[in-house]
């Protein structure tokens, strides 16, 4: 941003301080500016509790806490034993000692962890708090007789973070176990390898005759003792995998690996007892260790890409207010949301989210469905309106009859969609799988051929040469080349806020030649901002202050736009009455004011009516005071995105259902050559088809239900910013971040991924083409084979991991835009 953001930035969050703001923070006897009440309160709490060092230690700026303060109004809910049952475990000896897992939002750097831990430890009754920096999760233990969970959550909120309990679901727990088992296997293999090497090296180095044969035998028995747990514990997954493959008559990667390990181990035991020269325990342990290292790295990359899907699940509240006697009685009872059944009636107050899908039984209100449907305007709800679980009730209490719970809800459907993408293998990975299956089959045939040939010419060497061939060949490099790169890239993309819902998305995005954009909600924010004020009486400032006061409690986008534009004044409005979709009526200092559409005011719309803009008026009893025009603003990063995409050499198109003149004006402003307006969904579909017939690979970016068919038609599609539910179902990628510039990062990353995959495949092919003939001709001993193969697969995995780092620079760049 501009310079004044630096000189006049909020001390706490770094956002520019609005002019005229009077919020200050006392820090080391100096008054620092704050941008809002939220920042002031949070910063003062941090400083007053003796944690001012946070400001010295932090390396990143926290989000503005305002939003956090809005949420979690009903913290008390979390104290109810029924609700706690799903995420709190209490100690066996003392039921008052309880432990819960919390998700922490707002953690941006290590200082946040420090601050939260210190803050929690200062609370009387908190027995312990551990924050995991990698997963942004906290484990808190407290004495329920001294402090309630809601107080803990509240105190975290007071320092500007958002904490909510989460149920360590089975999948999570499963992954933790799996990861710990992998670390244990790796550790055993690593220790075994180090020590076996220690015994092996002297044998290799010693000149003939210097080592007595009984010492050598002792070392071999020691190696055997150490190798046995490595083979039977650490390498066990390879044997399991191979056995599974064999049962299904498949040739998987594990088959030659298990054969190699098994044969080398068995033959080395035989050698140990017969005192022959050929003992290769060192090769066996090393081989196992390097293989496990590669798999461990891959497993972590995969986990990281799965985390984004989990964050959606938190939308459903943990508890609900049930009205068991409705409609006859209105007695309320608290229940855990998971215990709700279809047919139950629940009461949902303003600001709360709905615990399940259902229909309105009583009440009239507006609901914010933007998170699930992309509809930025609140949706009016009355009796019998459909309610989607996870959406937020805005205006007044509603009684909802529950219709669908748990896995049947719309939200669960979206979560399943994301899971599908993770499970679905992209085209290239499928190809790599097939190729490596054939490769393994060919390899087994070659090994058999080599064994036969050497058995005829030199039977003494036949066995170890065959083992070398099995071990040296690297189907792993071939099989890992693609998936490792893809998982690393998908993880990085997800952290950038660009979620792939289909396996092929990344591949196609890299090859896309034409980018088609929708206008409203895609390149523009889809949100209202105040464009102009036409004052008829009084002055501009006064009109805005009056409007601000009148729209104080309203949630309509027009109201939000007016509130943002006006600085808060001293005025308070009374007798406010909102008319949905029309306007508001209220009294300020005894005078009646109205604010709303020209029809609502009963006045003729002014001549300034501009195309594509919304006009609202402010009037008192004597007539109109001012007219406001509001319109859709360009997204902050749209210009930058278009620039970057042009540099990447793709053709750009803007297809919109909006009026032609608006669309062309925007296209000219952004520098897009092909702009068409007044398009129906069918027209867009036709236009994309026409592009495809010229051989273009089309990436379509849009939101809204209207775009769903065209999103499906394009080879790859991106739904922007929590786009409509249908769009998400049809879209291959979803931009969860509000920063549209991430799309260009995504394209760059996708292209780099393709490059890395090609490098990996090339390396795997080259390595195998050189190593297998060399081994077959007897030039490779088993230990050389073990090193060669392991290093080859490590190289492939490490090359793939590079993707998660390269893209980080692009991501950080985008994040820094916000601050500077």
């Amino acid at each position: 941003m501009s310079e004044d953001a630096q000189t006049n930035a909020c001390f706490h969050c770094g956002e520019p301080v609005p002019t005229g703001s009077s919020y200050v923070i006392r820090y080391q006897n100096v008054h620092k500016p704050a941008c809002c009440l939220g920042c002031q309160a949070v910063a003062q709490t941090i400083i007053d509790s003796g944690n001012a060092d946070y400001y010295r230690l932090r390396t990143d700026l926290p989000p503005t806490p305002e939003a956090a303060l809005e949420e979690l109004k009903n913290l008390k809910l979390y104290d109810i034993p029924e609700v706690q049952s799903s995420f709190v475990s209490s100690s066996a000896d003392d039921t008052n000692v309880r432990e819960a897992n919390l998700i922490l939002e707002g953690i941006v750097c290590a200082a946040c962890v420090w601050l939260n831990e210190r803050h929690l430890h200062q609370l009387p009754g908190v027995l312990g708090a551990d924050i995991n920096f990698s997963t942004r999760r906290a484990r808190v233990r407290w004495d329920n007789s001294k402090i309630q969970l809601s107080e803990i959550l509240k105190s975290i909120q007071e320092i500007g973070y958002l904490a909510y309990p989460f149920d360590t679901n089975r999948q999570e727990e499963l992954f933790r176990k799996e990861r710990n088992a992998a670390i244990r296997r790796l550790a055993i293999a690593g220790l075994g390898m180090m020590q076996v090497m220690m015994y092996a090296v002297p044998v290799y180095m010693a000149e003939a005759g210097t080592m007595t044969s009984d010492i050598e035998a002792l070392m071999r028995f020691a190696s055997l003792l150490l190798t046995t747990p490595v083979v039977f514990y650490s390498a066990w997954p390879f044997f399991q995998g191979a056995w599974r493959d064999l049962k299904l008559l498949r040739a998987g990667m594990d088959v030659p690996v298990a054969l190699g390990i098994g044969a080398a181990y068995a033959a080395s035991i035989y050698g140990t007892f017969t005192g022959s020269e050929d003992v290769y325990f060192d090769s066996v342990v090393m081989f196992v260790f390097f293989l496990l290292t590669g798999r461990f790295l891959e497993m972590n990359a995969r986990k990281k890409s799965a985390e984004a899907a989990e964050s959606l699940i938190k939308l459903i509240p943990a508890a609900a207010v049930r009205l068991p006697g409705f409609p006859a009685a209105r007695a309320e009872e608290m229940v855990a949301a998971v215990k709700l059944m279809p047919g139950d009636h629940v009461l949902v107050g303003p600001g709360e989210s709905f615990p399940a899908d259902g229909r309105v039984a009583e009440g009239v209100s507006n609901v914010d469905e933007s998170l699930l449907t992309g509809e930025s305007h609140p949706v009016a709800k009355q009796a019998d309106s459909h309610i989607i679980g996870g959406t937020i009730n805005l205006a007044s209490p509603l009684v909802v009859r529950v219709e669908k719970v748990g896995a049947d809800t719309v939200l669960s459907g979206i979560v399943r969609l994301l899971d599908r993408a993770l499970a679905e293998k992209p085209h290239l990975a499928l190809l790599a799988d097939r190729v490596s299956a054939w490769f393994v089959l060919a390899l087994l045939v070659i090994a058999a051929g080599v064994a036969a040939a050497w058995y005829v010419t030199d039977p003494a060497r036949a066995f170890w040469i065959t083992v070398s061939v099995l071990v040296v060949s690297c189907p792993c490099a071939l099989g890992l080349a693609t998936p490792a790169a893809l998982t690393a890239a998908l993880g990085r993309l997800t952290r950038l806020g660009l979620l792939s819902t289909r396996g092929h998305a990344l591949e196609t995005l890299a090859r896309a030649t034409d980018f088609v954009f929708d206008k409203t909600g895609t390149l523009t924010s889809g949100e209202f901002t105040l464009r102009e004020v036409h004052v008829l009486r009084g002055d501009r400032e006064q009109a805005l202050t009056l409007a601000h006061a009148l729209e104080q409690g309203a949630t309509h986008p027009v109201a939000a736009a007016l509130r943002i534009a006006a600085s808060p004044g001293e005025l308070t409005a009374e007798d406010l009455r909102y008319y949905a979709g029309k306007g508001v009526h209220g009294r300020i200092d005894g005078c009646a004011y109205r604010l709303g559409t020209p029809e609502f005011l009963g006045l003729a719309a002014p001549a300034l009516h501009a195309p594509g803009l919304t006009v609202v008026g402010l009037a008192d009893e004597a007539g109109a005071l001012a007219w406001f025009t509001l319109g859709d603003a360009l997204r902050p990063q749209a210009r930058q995105l278009i620039q970057e995409l042009k540099q990447l050499g793709v053709r750009l198109h803007l297809y919109s259902g909006d009026r032609g003149e608006n669309v062309r004006a925007l296209a000219a402003e952004l520098g897009i050559d092909d702009a068409r307006g007044d398009m129906l969904p069918e027209d867009k579909l036709e236009a994309v088809r026409a592009l495809q017939q010229t051989g273009a690979i089309v990436a379509m970016t849009g939101d809204g239900v209207n775009d769903a068919p065209v999103l499906a038609q394009a080879q790859v599609s991106v739904a922007i910013d929590q786009g409509a539910e249908a769009a998400q179902a049809a879209a291959d990628m979803v931009l969860l971040s509000s920063e549209i510039g991430r799309l260009a990062d995504g394209v760059r990353l996708a292209r780099k991924t393709q490059r890395v995959i090609r490098q990996n495949l090339f390396w795997a092919a080259l390595y195998n083409a050189l190593a297998i003939p060399a081994a077959a001709l007897g030039h490779v001993t088993p230990w050389m084979a073990g090193i060669g193969m392991s290093l080859s697969s490590l190289l492939v995995v490490l090359n793939a991991m590079r993707l998660s780092r390269i893209a980080a620079h692009a991501g950080e760049g985008a994040a820094n835009d916000k601050v500077f």
Partner: protein, 60 residues
């Protein structure tokens, strides 16, 4: 060279001990957060007086 008859079995005992320590470390959750401790060491002062022990990592 006779000392080797003692040293080699001794090395096996040490490996076993190290393996046990490692397995204990995994079990007590020391490998669950690989980033945090690296940062934490830079925060120069200790936690304020705690009101109890750290949470029990095994409890699940």
């Amino acid at each position: 060279m006779d000392i080797l008859y003692l040293l080699i079995p001794l090395s096996l005992v040490f490996v076993a001990l190290i393996a046990l320590v490692f397995l204990w470390a995994v079990k007590s959750g020391q490998f669950e957060d690989m980033e945090g401790p690296a940062h934490r060491i830079l925060m120069d002062d200790d936690l304020p007086e705690s009101h109890g022990a750290k949470p029990d990592n095994d409890a699940h």
